[in-house]
């Protein structure tokens, strides 16, 4: 058991997992490039469903390995954070010691978000014409009322407005206005305007349900918070940092460059 703990606590393990993730990302991008048609639908449904439906191991091996590496990294992060927290803090080193752990927690939440999205998410694209109605899921549908596109003097779209109604159990909602980067939410479903065409009065609408997004957002917030602490602690406490990280360089050298960071 101790060997397992030591393995995941080791910086060498974290380094190895980082390296493996990097190699897999590069390899994955090459596999993607070599099989563009195969991967064309990967973003149209939750990852685990897509993997189950497209189970060609010679194309998707790197995704499984990536998930394995990230799992290893998550375990390593939990162990390192737990060890650091158990060591305790003083008022002097609170931010210095805590900020990397907050960042670690952020990474874990983001991983959790991705996992939940990949397992339980829902994605669907609706290409609707004016007056057309399409079902989203049981008892739910979208009715497109109208589309208008605002163009600049050169004819490029500056904005577009999609007027629609959300239908649930046969009841129509009031008319809503959907614009790019201004989504609408109906319960757990989010509606996003991907494109609109004024000529044939049509719009492409992405419907998604992303139960992992909130976890990922919390993770992002923690990551940013930890990063701010990281910057703050390192700009204020360089000599302490040198000791904490086991950096052997002369502290005087660090002091001389301190003013650059303050």
């Amino acid at each position: 058991m101790k060997t397992v703990f030591d393995f995941f606590l080791s910086l060498k393990t974290a380094f190895g997992l980082f390296l493996a993730f990097i190699v897999l990302s590069a390899a994955g991008s090459l596999v993607l490039t070599g099989n563009l048609a195969f991967f064309s639908g990967i973003d149209d449904m939750p990852l685990f469903r897509w993997l189950a439906e497209n189970n060609k191991i010679r194309h998707i091996w790197w995704i499984y390995l990536m998930i394995a590496m990230l799992t290893g990294l998550a375990i390593s992060t939990i162990f390192c954070t737990a060890e650091s927290l158990l060591k305790g803090f003083t008022r002097q080193n609170l931010i210095l010691r805590l900020s990397p752990q907050v960042m670690h927690a952020g990474v874990l939440f983001i991983m959790l978000g991705h996992l939940v999205t990949a397992s339980f998410g829902f994605k669907m694209d609706l290409q609707l014409k004016k007056g057309e109605q399409q079902a989203v899921s049981e008892g739910k549908a979208v009715l497109l009322e109208d589309v208008s596109v605002i163009t600049d003097k050169n004819g490029y779209p500056e904005d577009w407005l999609v007027r629609l109604r959300w239908i649930e159990d046969g009841k129509q909602s009031a008319e809503y206005l959907l614009r790019p980067v201004h989504p609408l939410y109906f319960g757990q479903f989010g509606l996003y305007s991907k494109s609109a065409d004024a000529e044939d009065s049509s719009a492409l609408i992405r419907i998604s349900k992303d139960p992992g997004a909130l976890w990922a957002l919390i993770g992002g917030f923690l990551l940013c918070l930890g990063a701010i602490g990281f910057v703050f602690s390192r700009s204020r406490r360089l000599p302490a940092l040198a000791n904490y990280e086991g950096i052997q360089e002369n502290n005087n050298e660090e002091q001389k460059i301190l003013h650059f960071f303050q």
Binding site: L11, I42, E158, V181, A227, E254, H259
Partner: protein, 259 residues
């Protein structure tokens, strides 16, 4: 239209192209002249920085927003970030030695920016505060990574420990900015398309770049990798981010999506 914008729009297409090229090549030349020794060099650098800043301000006025939506402006902004970080470091006389690498980097970036035709239309999907925050942090982080790589190169040539420490610190700031950028970018993409991750080469390489700098920052804590090996990792990190921006998409295309 009046003022500088009226002046720019009054040009013919060819003259406008020349104007955009000239407004970047002139500060690029001044930055390169910053390599001159002593006060003269500093004066040229400050002149280049001022002119460069003014050029970006004019682009902002022309677009009516932050000029961070296409390659011409993005690379120019990356160069400005690098130049400002370098300028900030000039306060420390010990960093003067990075002139030899940092100033050519800024000049080259501006020449690359000049090679791209500016685009004056902003797609509606990019009209979001989250998008601008994403781009701002993204190119600020590139500036940090660039200067960090310059200091790292210096360390590899001189072997001075102080440069290695500075490389680490500057890269750490860059990594923090890069993290902010990715979070803002994810929020923007979620608000625009209902997802915060895509399985494309660009996303994979962006994650790779983030992990690469994570690797570098962790490598510096390991006994066997501290010093020269870590410095090499840091310098290579900048090559990775440059490849992510310039190479991915062209050399490594992504699957066709509706995004």
């Amino acid at each position: 239209m009046c003022g500088p914008m009226g002046f720019i729009s009054a040009f013919s297409e060819d003259a406008r192209s020349l104007y955009y090229i000239f407004t970047l090549l002139l500060p690029a030349t001044l930055y390169a002249m910053g390599l001159m020794e002593g006060r003269k060099g500093r004066l040229f650098f400050i002149l280049g920085l001022t002119l460069h800043g003014f050029t970006i301000l004019l682009r902002a006025m022309e677009l009516g927003t932050l000029p961070l939506t296409e390659k011409h402006d993005n690379i120019s902004f990356m160069a400005l970030s690098s130049a400002l970080i370098y300028w900030f470091m000039l306060r420390d006389r010990r960093s003067n030695i990075i002139d030899l690498t940092a100033l050519p980097l800024v000049s080259i970036l501006l020449c690359v920016a000049a090679a791209y035709e500016p685009i004056n239309t902003i797609p509606p999907i990019q009209r979001s505060l989250w998008f601008y925050l994403h781009m701002l942090f993204y190119f600020v982080s590139y500036g940090f990574f660039g200067v960090s790589a310059c200091i790292g190169l210096q360390h590899l040539f001189t072997g001075e420990t102080v440069h290695e420490i500075m490389q680490y610190k500057v890269a750490a700031y860059g990594w923090v900015a890069f993290t902010f950028s990715l979070i803002c970018g994810s929020i923007w993409f979620f608000v625009a398309y209902g997802t915060y991750w895509l399985w494309t080469s660009r996303e994979l390489w962006t994650a790779l770049a983030w992990f690469w700098y994570g690797l570098y920052l962790h490598a510096r804590l390991m006994k066997g990798l501290r010093g020269r090996p870590a410095a090499v990792l840091g310098v290579l990190g900048f090559a990775v981010v440059l490849f992510t921006y310039f190479g991915v998409g062209k050399i490594i295309p992504s699957p066709p999506t509706q995004f």
